[in-house]
């Protein structure tokens, strides 16, 4: 291939400068046009809907209503419930995914026989589409075809094999369990990559100096992992707070809104009640909360990094 290019002859004069200047934009333009048309324009529209009365089936709707939607939200019990559930769902999922993922990454860090195979198999849940994760776990919790109710009864944790997904007090644990199952590989993979980039000599040197395994973990592993942990936990929190698939598939927000989170509530309002204005207002609140969370984490990180310097 290079030979045929060489055959074209000696060096030519440099191409027009104008072309060189627009060239990068030619490469990026197709992607940018698509992103602007299908993400940024709808995003702007969505923000404007939050202050409008937009009903799908009502052609007369569309007038500006100011802050009415937000006032309605203050008195909306379902919204307040969804807000509390979002915190609970996100915190429980992130903490469990992170801790179990960290332990798995530590277990996989040192070489042993068959590591490649074990790694491929434990990471398999990552490949399972989220709607299948939801269905799979809904069936596991189903007393007719699933083993979990029977096991919980045998362990004495449940008086009779019933479906926890229809129990208001316990239903949220169903989607959380499914989410943890599907999410452990993400943390294990990213933390494993970070662990393997730690120079091995550091551990050897510390061992020669007489540091115990625990001391080595606290003074070498933890500081090296910290930046990855902050980034992955931040991204994952945002992602999970927005992640409605499992809830939609497993409980559809029920029983009686007990598993409704903000993102699933947005879908319910938009596609069951067809109230696009109110749905967009709820989405805007979710966006504001997540931005606030991101900013505070980034500021916290800056503070911590400053202290270390």
């Amino acid at each position: 291939m290079t030979a045929s290019l060489l055959a074209h002859g000696g060096p030519r004069k440099p191409p027009l400068r104008l072309f060189q200047r627009v060239e990068p934009y030619l490469y990026t333009a197709p992607s940018l046009v698509l992103i602007v048309a299908l993400i940024l324009v709808p995003l702007a529209l969505g923000v404007s809907y939050a202050f409008q009365d937009v009903q799908l089936l009502d052609p007369l709707s569309g007038g500006y209503v100011g802050l009415d939607h937000f006032r309605d939200m203050a008195g909306d019990k379902a919204f307040r419930g969804a807000l509390a559930n979002t915190l609970w769902w996100t915190a429980a999922s992130v903490v469990l995914q992170f801790l179990l993922g960290l332990v798995l990454a530590l277990l996989l860090d040192k070489p042993f026989r068959g590591r490649g195979l074990v790694q491929a198999l434990v990471f398999l849940p990552w490949a399972v589409p989220s709607f299948l994760v939801g269905l799979n776990w809904a069936w596991l919790f189903n007393p007719v075809v699933g083993p979990i109710p029977g096991w919980l009864t045998a362990l004495g944790l449940m008086s009779a094999p019933t479906n926890i997904l229809s129990d208001p007090a316990l239903a949220m644990w169903g989607p959380i369990a499914a989410n943890v199952w599907g999410g452990i590989p993400f943390f294990a993979i990213t933390l494993l990559a970070a662990l393997q980039s730690i120079p091995r000599d550091l551990y050897d040197a510390a061992a020669i100096d007489g540091a115990s395994a625990l001391q080595r973990f606290w003074s070498i592993t933890v500081p090296f992992l910290a930046p990855t942990v902050v980034t992955t936990v931040l991204l994952r929190t945002i992602w999970i707070a927005n992640f409605a698939d499992l809830i939609v598939v497993m409980t559809n927000g029920g029983p009686a809104d007990h598993t409704q989170i903000l993102s699933s509530y947005i879908f319910t309002v938009a596609f069951k009640q067809l109230d696009f204005g109110y749905a967009s207002a709820v989405a805007l609140v979710l966006l504001a909360l997540l931005s606030l969370y991101t900013l505070s984490i980034l500021m916290l990180r800056r503070l911590v990094l400053k202290d270390h310097r």
């Binding site: 290079t2 290019l5 074209h8 000696g10 060096p11 191409p15 490469y27 990026t28 992607s31 940018l32 698509l34 992103i35 299908l38 709808p42 529209l45 969505g46 809907y49 042993f112 074990v118 198999l121 434990v122 990471f123 398999l124 490949a127 399972v128 589409p129 989220s130 709607f131 299948l132 799979n136 776990w137 069936w139 596991l140 699933g146 083993p147 199952w181 599907g182 999410g183 452990i184 993400f186 993979i189 990213t190 990559a193 991204l235 992602w239 707070a241 927005n242 409605a244 939609v248 598939v249 947005i266 879908f267 938009a270 596609f271 696009f276 749905a279 967009s280 989405a283 979710l286 991101t294």
Partner: protein
């Protein structure tokens, strides 16, 4: 460390890993088990680990008497089309991000990062209205367009990381010899990036194959349903036939599993490049 302490540690590690393996694989095993259990045994044998008699009837029924082959075809078209479009666009954009320095590059990076951060639910209503106004609801092309836009940012970061790994000298040598940059890109850089392209195809295919909420919203006609939508409708309508549903679920897993094997090696690079796919 003494030999017995080391053996104890190895034993603990093996025990812990076995627990993880059991947790990761059991749900999938159960799916497979119910899908091959004859209906009469499903209720009588309860939670036995394996049925006393196996059957492939559920698979046969799903393949011949249900709409799942149609859903399967629709999903393949949507996921395949999206994967090809995204990879093409992301290869171009990723190449520009890797090789050029230009005005507005930082803006593009920020723009792409923003698309990964805000709730997609924010786009539900506007996208539905926009697609309806151009007649792209209940349309596979509409899904391909939307999915392509959603996946381009991540795929661009991913492709950029692959291009960054290829020395600039190669194409610069070709350009000194008179090739245009685009020719050098096509004939020298792209062939070297083939594994990266395969990984990007795999990532995007898996994402598009799994997408549920936008498909639920944009598709109401069974003839153009994708697999997730079809399976969910099936579940809510005929929630009694567990064997058939699980047989369908196992079949939906096959393409995802295949692409997982394809991209397994790139998982670490991919997730650290974008760190967004769930």
């Amino acid at each position: 460390m003494t030999a017995s302490a080391r053996r104890l540690k190895g034993g603990l590690r093996a025990a812990a890993l076995s627990l993880y393996l059991a947790f990761a694989l059991f749900p999938l095993f159960w799916l497979l088990k119910v899908s091959v259990t004859p209906n009469i045994l499903l209720y009588s044998e309860g939670i036995r680990m394996w049925p006393s008699r196996m059957t492939l009837d559920h698979y046969a029924y799903v393949l011949t008497h249900s709409q799942f082959p149609v859903f399967f075809r629709n999903s393949s078209i949507v996921a395949g089309g999206t994967a090809v479009c995204v990879t093409l666009l992301a290869a171009l954009a990723g190449y520009a991000m890797s090789r050029f320095r230009f005005r507005g590059k930082a803006v593009i990076v920020v723009l792409m990062l923003i698309t990964q951060m805000f709730p997609l639910a924010m786009l539900v209503a506007p996208i539905f209205r926009m697609m309806a106004s151009v007649g792209l609801t209940n349309n596979l092309l509409g899904l391909v367009v939307v999915y392509t836009a959603f996946n381009v940012p991540f795929a661009t970061f991913l492709m950029q990381s692959f291009f960054d790994g290829i020395p600039k000298d190669l194409e610069e040598a070709a350009m000194i010899d008179g090739a245009t940059r685009f020719v050098a890109f096509r004939h020298i850089v792209l062939p070297l990036t083939l594994p990266g392209i395969a990984a990007t195809l795999g990532f995007v295919f898996t994402a598009a194959w799994s997408e549920l909420l936008f498909a639920l919203m944009l598709i109401s006609d069974n003839q153009v349903s994708t697999f997730p939508v079809g399976l969910l409708t099936f579940v809510s309508k005929f929630s009694v036939d567990f064997g058939q549903m699980m047989a369908a679920a196992v079949m939906a897993l096959v393409p995802a599993g295949f692409f997982f094997l394809l991209i397994q090696r790139y998982l670490v690079q991919g997730l650290t490049a974008g760190a967004v796919k769930g």
